[in-house]
Amino acid sequence: MTTRVETKIPDQLWQQAQNMVQQGRINNMDALIAEAIRRYVESHQQILSERFIQEDIEWGLHGED
């Protein structure tokens, strides 16, 4: 299952991404964007999980259910 998204990307960044597709370094733009998002999510797992723990402590101490 996939989701259609509409977004604005800086021209220069878009051009760089298109060059990578044209050079055959990745199949198409859909694959490139999905890969970029996946890498972003993965690289932020540790930071995010620690941020969530901080949120948990705030909620535990002072939050409401």
Partner: protein, 169 residues
């Protein structure tokens, strides 16, 4: 103590981690605790003893009846596992739900869905606010996490958490 209105939908992680700390009963302060069918199987596989007192703790074993297209759309993005998916479907089904999970991806998906989510540490610290455990008891549980549980938390972060709890309560 008066129960809150939130319906807890539990993922496997917190059930296992709270049981490892002999603290599963901290979940009983909520209105209802639902263990999704898939999560039930996961817990049964990894830590069956956590379900031995499920009836005493009024855990409700339940399958999702409505399947949210939003959850389906988020599944490949966050690589959600079957248990997390079912938990999120149930969260969407019950409007006043609180997802209990230690999985970062599941929490991100919950955020996208506008579903409240907290983890094992939140439940432990909440016990002080709810006066179901004393501060020293909770500090003891927090200190036991590295040796008594399978929950991974960086040592310096845990020390920071302990310091915050000591200071703020």
């Amino acid at each position: 103590m008066e129960k809150t209105k939130a319906i807890v939908i539990a993922d496997a992680g917190p059930i296992i981690h709270l049981d490892e700390l002999n603290s599963l009963n901290l979940l009983t302060g909520f209105d209802k605790i639902i263990i999704p069918e898939t999560v039930w199987h996961e817990v049964q596989h990894h830590r069956p003893q956590a379900l031995h007192h499920a009836a005493d703790l009024a855990f409700v074993r339940q399958s999702a009846l409505d399947f949210s297209p939003q959850v389906d759309a988020l599944t490949p993005i966050y690589t959600l596992h079957a248990g997390e998916q079912e938990a999120l479907h149930l969260c969407v089904e019950f409007k006043n739900s609180l997802l209990i999970t230690d999985d970062t991806a599941a929490r991100l998906a919950a955020k996208s869905l506008g579903v409240a989510a907290h983890g094992t540490l939140g439940i432990l610290v909440r016990a002080i606010r709810e006066q179901t455990r004393s501060k020293s008891e909770v500090l003891e549980l927090l200190c036991a996490i590295p040796t008594q549980t399978t929950l991974h938390i960086r040592a310096s972060l845990l020390a920071e958490v302990i310091g915050k709890v000591e200071k703020n309560t």
